[in-house]
């Protein structure tokens, strides 16, 4: 046999071996329940993807060590099969197919970001595989009539509505002038729709409505307009890059607005990177460690914060918290269904009504969590160290909103 043939054969054997390695992990072998997840471990979402995975893992460990999932008098352990979707929606869809068709996964966890969740949802839906997702907030996920999709987080359009209400309240109930700049992606545009609704509801006027490009690195033109027309509220949403660019240029150009509301302040570590320049910025968040929700696995939000920190060495952003909550929802649904049948589990998921450290969870017909409000925090500094303090809704506020934001000349 020639050298070439031997090489060829060994290569084929190798490929076959890999192929075999990937198949044949049954969805509920003996005493484990396997959940599938495509998470971004490389590419542009890799940081957020890591938070997502860490959140899942911490919850899996916690649930398993506290007796696992009890179905039909038997105790099962959770196990998650991960693939790296490379932050690419095409890849995410392929991996979802692979998890379902090759690996035989019957229950799914969501990926990171609205875009990737949108890519996966049609596939889980077609295969009637229930998916509990924790990181896709786009409103369009909940308008397609999906029956197997459940989201533990609040939808994107709810992110900054509260800020407009707050501005109107501070303005003595009178309508306000709104300036806004949103990136052109699914998530930010949904946040924009929420603001449009809020403006209509309160009779407020939108005087600047800019769309920021994906390659955004400069918004000085928008800010020059803001300076000229003096709105009551400036709303910015463009992921981490948008938040960092906005704060940098607002402080450089000394733009005075009574209220600045943004998203992605904690994932961009705004208060750490920009320090005092970021002070008084209002930020929307799904969760905050000072909230008073609790459950029996993680106890309160603040103990989750501590446990996560001990395990992974950094404070959990809300992406990690909501991901952990997704596992609690799964456990609860399995036990109420008292079955491993995916249809029965789906029906149990639809009836979920529980409290977790992350917040209350109850799904509407579209699978959207309607029991948990968004929180707004404000960056506050003492000396040089800055912290995020919850200021709305008032029920959970740990500190008072500073309004209007002091002028740059007075800081």
């Amino acid at each position: 046999m020639s050298q070439y043939k031997i090489k060829l054969i060994s290569m084929i054997a190798f490929v076959l071996m890999i192929g075999l390695g990937f198949t044949g992990s049954p969805y509920a072998a003996d005493d484990t329940i396997v959940l599938g997840a495509a998470v971004s471990l490389s590419g542009k979402y890799s940081t957020a993807g890591k938070h997502t995975k860490n959140g899942y893992e911490l919850a899996v460990k916690r649930i398993n060590s506290m007796g696992g999932v009890k179905v039909g008098g038997k105790s099962y352990q959770f196990k998650v099969t991960y693939y790296d979707d490379e932050s690419n929606s095409g890849r995410a869809a392929q991996l979802a197919e692979r998890l379902i068709k090759q690996d035989g996964v019957q229950y799914m966890l969501g990926p990171y970001s609205s875009g990737l969740t949108k890519a996966i949802a049609p596939i889980t839906e077609e295969n009637k595989i229930p998916m509990v997702e924790a990181n896709g907030a786009s409103r369009s996920l909940f308008t397609k009539g999906y029956k197997y999709l459940f989201a533990v987080l609040s939808a994107a359009n709810q992110y900054l509505e509260v800020a407009i209400d707050l501005a109107v309240e501070k303005n003595g109930g009178k309508p306000v002038k709104i300036a806004m700049a949103f990136e052109q992606d699914a998530f930010s545009q949904d946040v924009r729709l929420g603001i449009l609704d809020a403006a209509k509801r309160t009779g407020s006027k939108i005087i600047i409505d800019d769309k920021l490009p994906k390659e955004l690195n400069d918004m000085s033109a928008t800010l020059a307009k803001v300076k000229a027309v003096r709105p009551d509220v400036l709303v910015v949403s463009g992921h981490s890059k948008g938040a960092l660019t906005a704060v940098r240029q607002i402080s450089e150009m000394k733009v005075n607005v009574p209220m600045l509301a943004m998203t992605h302040c904690d994932s961009s570590s705004l208060s750490k990177q920009h320090g005092k320049k970021a002070e008084y910025a209002l930020c929307a968040a799904q969760w905050h460690k000072s909230l008073s929700y609790s459950d029996k696995f993680f106890d309160t939000a603040s103990t989750f914060d501590k446990d996560f920190n001990a395990e992974y060495g950094y404070a959990p952003p809300y992406q990690a918290a909501e991901s952990a909550a997704a596992l609690l929802v799964w456990k609860d649904a399995f036990e109420r269904a008292n079955s491993l049948d995916k249809e029965k589990v789906r029906d149990a998921l639809a009836k979920t009504d529980m409290q977790t450290f992350y917040g209350n969870i109850k799904f509407n017909q579209q699978g959207q969590n309607i029991a948990k409000p968004m929180v707004l925090f404000q960056v506050r500094c003492t000396g040089d160290s800055c912290e995020n303090k919850v200021v709305a809704p008032t029920k959970w506020a740990s500190s008072k909103l500073v309004h209007p934001v002091p002028k740059w000349s007075e800081r």
């Binding site: 033109a221 981490s240 660019t245 450089e252």
Partner: protein
């Protein structure tokens, strides 16, 4: 209006810096470097890491080009010298590969978080506060201008500068006359990387850094070089500033969403116009 024009000029000088490196490579080596933007971002990260180590990021303007120069040499020795005498297509493919590789490596090494370096340089206000100029931007423009002037003189006076110009005119003739063209090429690649390093350091204090934001810089420098022509530094500087002003105005008048679109539209117009001019020239020849 005044604000937009001044912002545009300041931005344009930064672009021109990046574009000049591209024009050099293109003109002398016939290489279109798709990885230009990634080199810029890499240079920015050098400044950012100096900042996190407690050094003022402004010194990145000095350190970053040195680091990047050697990185440029390394890239030339390992990859570029293999494609230099081949078709233009090979070099585009090769630099495209470098660009993807650089993005992913930066993502692994530095993480996908968006970062900024704080210069705390303050802001200058003109005309009764109606125009605000961040000092960081003014500084970038000043450094950019200074580097451009130094380069023009260097190209005119120094031995290497003369060798570069000779190689650009006719590489074979230059080689016959004793110019070490390989050395010329490698130093051009190094100089280009150093220029990107300076630009990157300036970007780290004026804008934001992220492993995947290199492409817009590549596109803009490509655009500037096409408008200005190869190897003509004053034209590159002018065309850079022109593009900067054009962008700011497009942003101010049509809205931010049309900013990049306007750049591409301009690119199309310029290409069509050039073709038109070229076809008229051809008619004369007939």
């Amino acid at each position: 209006m005044v604000q937009a024009s001044i912002d545009g000029v300041l931005l344009g000088i930064l672009f021109a810096l990046i574009a000049y490196g591209m024009a050099l490579q293109w003109g002398v080596m016939s290489i279109i470097n798709i990885a230009q933007g990634e080199l810029v971002i890499l240079g920015g990260y050098v400044a950012y890491y100096m900042y996190t180590a407690g050094i003022h990021p402004i010194f990145g303007v000095i350190v970053s080009p040195i680091v990047m120069y050697f990185l440029g040499l390394l890239l030339y020795k390992t990859i570029i010298n293999k494609v230099i005498n081949r078709d233009l297509f090979f070099s585009i493919l090769a630099t495209f590969g470098i660009s993807i590789l650089a993005q992913q490596l930066m993502n692994i090494l530095f993480g996908s978080d968006v970062v900024v370096a704080q210069s705390n340089l303050g802001t200058t206000f003109l005309f009764d506060d109606s125009v605000s100029l961040p000092n960081a931007k003014i500084l970038s423009a000043a450094v950019g201008t200074l580097v451009a002037i130094v380069l023009v003189i260097y190209m005119k006076k120094s031995k290497l500068g003369r060798a570069i110009r000779a190689t650009a005119q006719n590489a074979r003739a230059a080689k016959i006359l004793g110019v070490d063209t390989d050395k010329v090429y490698s130093s051009i690649f190094g100089i280009n990387a150093a220029l990107c390093g300076i630009a990157g350091a300036l970007i780290s204090i004026t804008f934001t850094l992220h492993p995947y934001v290199g492409l817009p810089y590549t596109v803009r420098s490509f655009m500037i070089v096409i408008v200005a022509g190869l190897g003509n530094l004053p034209a590159v500087a002018l065309s850079g500033m022109g593009l900067g002003v054009f962008e700011e105005f497009a942003d101010y008048i049509f809205g931010t969403e049309f900013r990049i679109g306007a750049v591409f539209l301009l690119l199309v117009f310029v290409l069509v116009y050039r073709r038109f001019k070229l076809s008229r020239k051809r008619e004369y020849l007939k």
